[in-house]
């Protein structure tokens, strides 16, 4: 019974268990270090970018601004930790870790570079190249909501609880759209292994990237990823103007900081995932130099740099959106998730599956020029339709948009009931 499990968990059995163990531990340490330092610097980047977008300077005092994350960290460690009297302590302590750990361990399966044929054997550039990579990410991603919900619940505070409730509803709703958005990608790759997804996008340069062949899926993935990471315009669980600080109102010192780290870690993970699924991952476009043997260290470094470049761009994109778009109203958020994204994705899967099947029947090989070109054409038509036909105050209804005739009649029929006698009459 153990054999199938081993086969499932490890695509290529390692040549030597010692090399495998040493390499894995080394990769874990390196990635963890880069990750934590990177997340710390991202808090600085967010403040700097927000400042620039608002014609300000941003933090520029501690070491010209560069030591600001260190100063923040020291401050948060030195601060007093407060525990509310009515908080349920075990969960209150557990919640920050529960928010932080899933964001970290998602990275285990993301391939960030070409494999390296070291003197001791081939080393894959992902901590665990699981054949079921994408399913693992979906599974871990679902755990992420627990941290926020438990934080909201255990704080014993009405605002925290509301934040936790909102986040659970939001994350459950958008997880569906997120999963649906990746199905066209997996259809094209024919596999759930992230390595296969990256390989499937090599060949034609940006034309074979999934962003060209499944543009609408990318757009929905982008929106759902924003909701999953609780970033503006979907930061309803936090919503300073309504809920103080939402689920982390009661947290102080390093526990509060941990929620912040979790948010940025989630952001990096979602960005890396977006680069992998839709933007060709670590593959260098227009050349097959990086895909063929000999797998030298230079190739590994070049592809890694490219991958982190793409990831950082999407992290910047997150911040860019945050400082541009205001927060959604709660009903708009739910309506967008359930009434628009989910049906749109269901329809899109059917369209894409049909198109892929027809193209394969017509004898075009996947990721050949006519195959990708035809899919790109299809997507251009769909996106143009979305932008210029559907996007007329119907996708989301902003406050300034036209009201639906039906809703308007409903609103107009409402009778205000002010006095008790009138209320009694209305009841009768």
């Amino acid at each position: 019974m153990t054999l199938p499990i081993v086969a499932l968990l490890q695509a290529s059995p390692p040549q030597s268990i010692v090399v495998f163990l040493v390499a894995t531990v080394a990769k874990m340490l390196i990635i963890f270090t880069i990750y934590m330092v990177g997340v710390a610097l991202l808090t600085l980047a967010e403040r700097k970018i927000s400042a620039w977008m608002q014609d300000r300077h941003g933090p520029n005092r501690v070491g010209k601004g560069w030591l600001q994350p260190a100063a923040d960290g020291v401050k948060n460690i030195m601060k007093e930790e407060t525990y509310p009297d009515d908080a349920y302590t075990p969960l209150f302590v557990l919640a920050p870790a529960m928010a932080f750990i899933p964001a970290m361990i998602t990275w285990a399966v993301i391939p960030w570079g070409a494999p390296w044929d070291s003197p001791w054997g081939r080393i894959e550039m992902s901590i665990a190249s699981l054949p079921i990579g994408f399913l693992y990410i979906l599974a871990i991603g679902s755990i992420g909501v627990y941290g926020i919900v438990l934080a909201g619940w255990s704080s014993n505070n009405k605002y925290s609880l509301l934040g936790g409730l909102r986040s659970s509803a939001q994350m459950v709703s958008y997880e569906i759209a997120l999963g649906m958005a990746t199905i066209p990608v997996l259809l094209l790759a024919g596999n759930v292994s992230l390595n296969q997804v990256v390989e499937g996008q090599a060949g034609l340069g940006p034309l074979s990237w999934n962003v060209a062949t499944c543009t609408l899926a990318w757009l929905v993935f982008l929106i759902a990823a924003f909701a999953e990471t609780n970033r503006l315009p979907f930061d309803l669980p936090e919503a300073e103007s309504e809920l103080i600080a939402g689920y982390h109102s009661e947290y102080s010192a390093m526990k509060f900081s941990l929620f912040f780290i979790a948010e940025y870690a989630n952001m990096v993970t979602a960005s890396a995932l977006m680069s992998t699924l839709f933007f060709g991952g670590w593959d260098i476009p227009f050349t097959s130099w990086d895909n063929v043997a000999p797998h030298s260290a230079l190739k590994t470094l070049a592809t890694t740099a490219l991958f982190f470049g793409k990831t950082l761009f999407w992290v910047f994109f997150y911040m860019w959106i945050r400082w541009t778009v205001p927060r959604f109203r709660y009903d708009q958020l739910m309506a967008l998730g359930w009434k628009l994204l989910l049906p749109a994705m269901l329809g899109y899967i059917v369209v894409m599956a049909t198109a892929i099947l027809l193209l394969q029947r017509a004898g075009f090989a996947p990721s050949s020029l006519p195959f990708s070109g035809a899919l790109l054409g299809l997507n251009v038509v769909i996106v143009l339709a979305l932008l210029f036909v559907l996007d007329r105050g119907r996708i989301v209804s902003p406050a300034y948009s036209r009201l639906d005739r039906r809703n308007l009649d409903k609103l107009r029929a409402v009778t205000p009931i002010r006095r008790g006698t009138e209320a009694a009459e209305a009841g009768r």
């Binding site: 970018i49 400042a51 620039w52 977008m53 608002q54 014609d55 300000r56 300077h57 860019w320 959106i321 400082w323 541009t324 778009v325 979305l386 932008l387 996007d391 007329r392 105050g393 996708i395 989301v396 902003p398 300034y400 948009s401 036209r402 009201l403 308007l408 609103l411 107009r412 029929a413 409402v414 009778t415 205000p416």
Partner: protein, 164 residues
């Protein structure tokens, strides 16, 4: 009675979300490359108007004594009642202030004291960095007022209304 719901009939071309968002993003990106407008305060300072009314200063004669003749006009005109003046007289009959104190906490910096002073002794100055560690520190006595060195406020001249 039904609720009167007002409906703004906007042209349908104006109601969009995605395109409006893209427009907003291009705006924020444009601002990212603009020079910040911040003045880095402790290092850089704004130039003050010549008519700026700030912390007081008492001007002195050549022999270093305050110009004040203790006429009592400034405590009379002061709307915030922040000037304390006790007049004295020397053997020649010259009046001088025994006590001259201004409570900068009570002062509303209207500049009437400077305007009313017949000897051009008391002035409001072009100076605003006057923080203190105690309330008592804000009561400036004569010694402190004469020791101030910052430039004084130039009063508005009806003959030259724009200050040219």
């Amino acid at each position: 009675m039904a609720i009167g719901v007002k409906v703004l009939e906007r042209p349908i071309a104006e109601t969009s979300y995605l395109r409006a968002t893209l427009k907003g993003m291009s705006l924020t990106l444009k601002h990212m490359f603009q020079e910040p407008v911040t003045v880095q305060y402790p290092e850089e300072k704004w130039s003050l108007s010549p008519r700026w009314r700030g912390t007081h200063r008492m001007l002195t004669t050549e022999d270093g004594k305050a110009k004040c003749v203790a006429c009592g006009l400034c405590p009379t005109v002061c709307p915030a009642n922040c000037i304390k003046l006790v007049p004295g007289e020397d053997e020649k009959g010259n009046r001088y202030p025994l006590v001259f104190e201004i409570d900068e906490f009570r002062c509303i910096f209207c500049g009437y004291c400077q305007e009313v002073c017949p000897e051009e002794a008391i002035h409001v100055g072009r100076h605003y960095e006057n923080s203190e560690y105690s309330r008592e520190g804000f009561v400036y006595d004569l010694e402190r007022l004469t020791a101030q060195t910052h430039p004084v406020c130039e009063m508005w001249d009806p003959a030259d209304p724009k200050g040219e």
